[in-house]
């Protein structure tokens, strides 16, 4: 369902996003619902979507919108930053 996605918001020029990318891919392969990857610096549509979840993502990021960030549309919970682990992602997705 379009509004029940697990979303990975990332930026093409963000080095932490590049580091987290393979971890997200690996976690995604173990989930029934694959993680949707949305690049935000080169797509205003994706940036707008990320901003629409801004209150939750900001809290997860420590105050401001940041990437890499993951947002669960079902639980409305977010993960943010370079220290997110595969275990964190699986727990967040399955909650």
């Amino acid at each position: 369902m379009a509004n029940d996605r697990l979303i990975f918001f990332w930026g093409r020029e963000c080095p932490h996003c590049a580091k987290l990318h393979p971890i997200v891919t690996e976690a995604s392969s173990e989930l029934e619902t694959p993680i949707t990857e949305l690049e935000v610096w080169h797509s205003e549509e994706n940036a707008k979507l990320m901003r629409s979840y801004g209150d939750v993502i900001k809290k997860a990021c420590g105050g401001s919108l940041g990437v890499p960030a993951l947002y669960n549309e079902r639980t409305k919970k977010a993960l943010c930053g370079m220290r997110v682990t595969k275990e964190d992602i699986l727990k967040w997705a399955r909650e």
Binding site: E13, P15, V40, W41, A47, K48, M50, R51, G63, L65
Partner: protein, 146 residues
């Protein structure tokens, strides 16, 4: 900086050397020529003409690295020693400047509010970030505690 404080900023000109300052008041001592009490309010369009278009362009990776090194000199933080990582951030900022007008941190995302997004220009005020206090790195990892 709050929007209220931003709204109070004006442009000031040194009447000795034409130094331009943007702030709530002009500096007591001109940082360029050393003149005291020399700053007078200047009309904004006039100030833009005084600046001419002679400001240096920081539009190359090496220039940004040099600026960041100088910014971190003698401070409690330093530039991340991983040069390729730092260059990747520099390329990201230059890309953001080309596409979005300012050197926004590539590890953030703009809110759409221009004044709020001024806080995302690199170097940001990372001392107030929880992540800097907890890990000793700014959000993107460009600067790390010594």
């Amino acid at each position: 900086m709050t929007k209220e404080a931003m709204a109070r900023k004006k442009v000031w000109r040194c009447n000795v050397c034409n130094d331009i300052h943007y702030g709530i008041k002009g500096p007591d001592v001109c940082p360029t020529c050393g003149a005291r009490n020399a700053f007078a309010l200047i009309d904004y369009p006039e100030a833009m003409k005084v600046i001419l278009d002679q400001g240096e362009r920081l539009d190359e990776e090496d220039k940004l690295l040099d600026v960041w090194e100088r910014f971190a000199k003698d401070k409690p933080f330093k530039l991340n020693p991983d040069e390729e990582f730092v260059r990747q951030l520099a390329r990201g900022e230059l890309e953001n400047e080309r596409n979005h007008g300012l050197k926004y941190c590539p590890c953030r995302i703009t809110t759409g509010d221009f004044v709020d997004d001024l806080d995302l220009i690199c170097p940001c005020n990372f001392f107030i970030q929880p992540v800097y206090k907890e890990t000793g790195e700014c959000w993107c990892g460009l600067f790390v505690k010594r």
